[in-house]
């Protein structure tokens, strides 16, 4: 059995062949398509079994066809009304947010946004926010708290942008401020990590009452490539790094850092975005119903308890 990463390359190659064959006519081509399709199915089944390794998940989380935040907003909400700007410096394309309706109820949705084509990628800065992005996110959350709207965040970023302007305008302060102030907001907050959870840049909008994570999303303190270059001084060990960093949804559930895993189709979210969004909707409906059912004080008490217990893995003597 080939390794999962190799399987993926094989599957891609086979899919390319099938596409080429579909352009041809005749029963021979048809037979060949069926045969290849069977192989693809077989390979995908093994590639999607429990042994799917950490690096495969990193690749799936970064898959170019994977739905991005605005795609999910389209599928999960109606009447999305985007709001712009942090009122201090500018409008960051890497963070989107605004009012929307979830099953008819008004909510506030905020998330990272990546771009598909080159122009969009530049506009979205590859999903890496500057300080104004985090300040916009918090401004919208505060607005939500003022008008008693639940907050849903959609998390998908390689990380906060490491640039000169970002440092000058206080990237660290912007993230730190969110980490301290978001817990005080008196409305339900449900973050969903659906793609890349890139360190502090992801965490800055991932604080909440119930944290959800898609099956193939990853959430890590450092990218496997950077980890590899620090520890091994090259990028060749990125697969090892992905494994030892424990960045998969199962790992995080085990550490009680996330509360629930949202299932994806066997080949990954990109294979069937509608089905992924449907699974997300089910989980979100349940979480919001549970959080709305308890009093605000009780919700805040539980939120603080949850935050206080985060990653308390220590030894005492």
């Amino acid at each position: 059995m080939p390794k999962p990463s190799e399987q993926k390359t094989i599957v891609q190659e086979l899919e390319k062949q099938i596409a080429e064959l579909k352009l041809q006519e005749g029963s021979v081509a048809q037979e060949e398509i069926t045969r290849l399709q069977e192989q693809v199915d077989l390979l995908q089944r093994s590639a999607t079994a429990e042994d799917k390794d950490a690096w495969t998940r990193v690749l799936l989380a970064r898959h170019p066809q994977r739905p991005y935040t605005l795609d999910y907003i389209q599928m999960l909400f109606t009447e999305f009304t985007e709001l712009h700007g942090d009122r201090r410096f500018g409008d960051d394309g890497a963070i989107v947010g605004g009012f929307a309706r979830f099953n008819g109820h008004p909510v506030m949705v905020v998330g990272h946004q990546k771009g598909r084509d080159t122009k969009q990628k530049l506009h979205r800065n590859f999903g890496m926010p500057n300080p104004e992005g985090y300040r916009k996110a918090f401004r919208l959350m505060q607005l939500a708290a003022k008008f008693n709207l639940p907050i849903i965040t959609l998390v998908d970023t390689p990380g906060a942008y490491p640039g000169i302007g970002a440092e000058e305008r206080g990237q660290a302060e912007a993230i730190a401020f969110n980490l301290k102030e978001i817990p005080k907001l008196r409305v339900p907050i449900v973050p969903i990590i659906h793609g890349e959870g890139g360190s502090g840049g992801a965490l800055a909008i991932s604080v909440g009452d119930r944290v959800l994570m898609l099956e193939n999303a990853v959430y890590s303190v450092i990218a496997p490539e950077s980890c590899s270059s620090i520890l091994w001084r090259d990028w060749e060990h990125k697969e090892d790094a992905a494994r030892i960093l424990k960045l998969t949804a199962e790992d995080l559930l085990g550490f009680k850092i996330i509360d629930e895993i949202v299932p994806e189709p066997p080949e990954g979210a990109h294979a069937d975005p509608q089905a992924t969004a449907a699974a997300m909707r089910t989980a979100l409906e349940r979480c919001l119903a549970e959080l709305e059912a308890i009093s605000c004080d009780e919700r805040l008490r539980r939120r603080n308890e949850r935050l206080r217990a985060l990653g308390t893995l220590v030894h005492e003597s």
């Binding site: 906060a160 490491p162 440092e167 990237q171 030892i244 960093l245 990653g311 893995l313 220590v314």
Partner: protein
């Protein structure tokens, strides 16, 4: 028979004991490169007497210089990391921990003390750079959170002296969660209205800056300290250009509005004492609600 013979014993190679007499007496300043007599340096709170370069301080020396008569009660000194990820790269995290524990004599990268500054009770945390770059894992996160919890319970002011490269990679996502845990605890600390002063020293970067270091009622720094979110090398690699002179120094941050003041080490204790007074740290009467 040999024509020449050694009549005398060969010169003795210097023993460890003899070498100790000269070793470590002198130290080169990292900034002005002058050779300094170590005793002079120590008497000057580890600041170069010639160019005022601030050398790194151990957590022990830091707490000793802050508290009256160098006296304080240490909290949670026995807390250590159980290596939650079972992290092994070229070396195991366990071995790295053991090595750091031997070098520093501490269990992890922060020391928490309760004591007095000019008679005012408070809790101070000092990070230990020699312990895996002062990086923040679960132990650092939990010790600082407990310090905040104690400050809430006893209504005491808090001082944290940062000296850290950021989150500890060998505890992966667990270390990232410490940012959230500590910051949320500081949010609760706001309610008791006692001061929190963050002192940033060289260096303070990454997850440390992106959490408690930037969240003080006052954010102050020692002169020349490197302070930032991303490390200079990461930024250079991303933008593919050289960084401007003085980028990410304490002076740069002051200019960009991120700091209340730059305080030389020699004035630090006086500055803390004075500002704590302004913020009513030791006042018996409660501030207005």
């Amino acid at each position: 028979m040999a024509w020449f013979r050694k009549e005398k014993k060969p010169l003795e190679s210097p023993t460890a004991e003899k070498r100790a007499q000269t070793e470590g007496l002198w130290i080169k300043c990292e900034s002005c490169k002058r050779i300094l007599w170590k005793k002079d340096l120590e008497q000057n709170l580890l600041c170069c007497p010639k160019c005022n370069f601030h050398f790194k301080m151990t957590s022990e020396a830091r707490l000793a210089m802050l508290f009256d008569d160098g006296k304080y009660t240490e909290h949670d000194a026995g807390m250590s990391s159980p290596d939650p990820l079972k992290f092994v790269d070229r070396k195991s995290y366990r071995d790295r921990l053991t090595a750091a524990q031997i070098v520093t004599g501490a269990k992890d990268a922060v020391r928490v003390g309760e004591g007095k500054i000019d008679g005012k009770s408070l809790i101070a945390c000092a990070m230990e750079f020699r312990f895996i770059g002062g990086s923040m894992g679960a132990v650092v996160g939990e010790k600082i959170t407990r310090a905040i919890d104690r400050c809430i319970e006893k209504e005491l002011p808090l001082v944290v002296v940062s000296c850290s490269g950021g989150a500890r990679m060998m505890e992966g996502i667990i270390s990232l969660m410490q940012l959230s845990k500590i910051s949320a605890a500081l949010a609760r600390f706001d309610e008791v209205r006692k001061p929190y002063i963050s002192v940033m020293t060289n260096p303070t970067t990454g997850g440390t800056t992106a959490s408690f270091a930037m969240l003080g009622d006052l954010n102050i720094a020692e002169p020349g300290a490197l302070i930032g979110f991303a490390g200079p090398r990461v930024i250079e690699q991303t933008i593919r250009q050289k960084l401007p002179e003085g980028f990410q120094t304490a002076e740069f941050l002051l200019q960009h509005g991120m700091l209340d003041a730059i305080v030389p080490r020699v004035d630090l204790k006086t500055y803390l004492s004075k500002t704590l007074d302004f913020m009513g740290a030791w006042n018996a009467s409660k501030p207005r609600k």
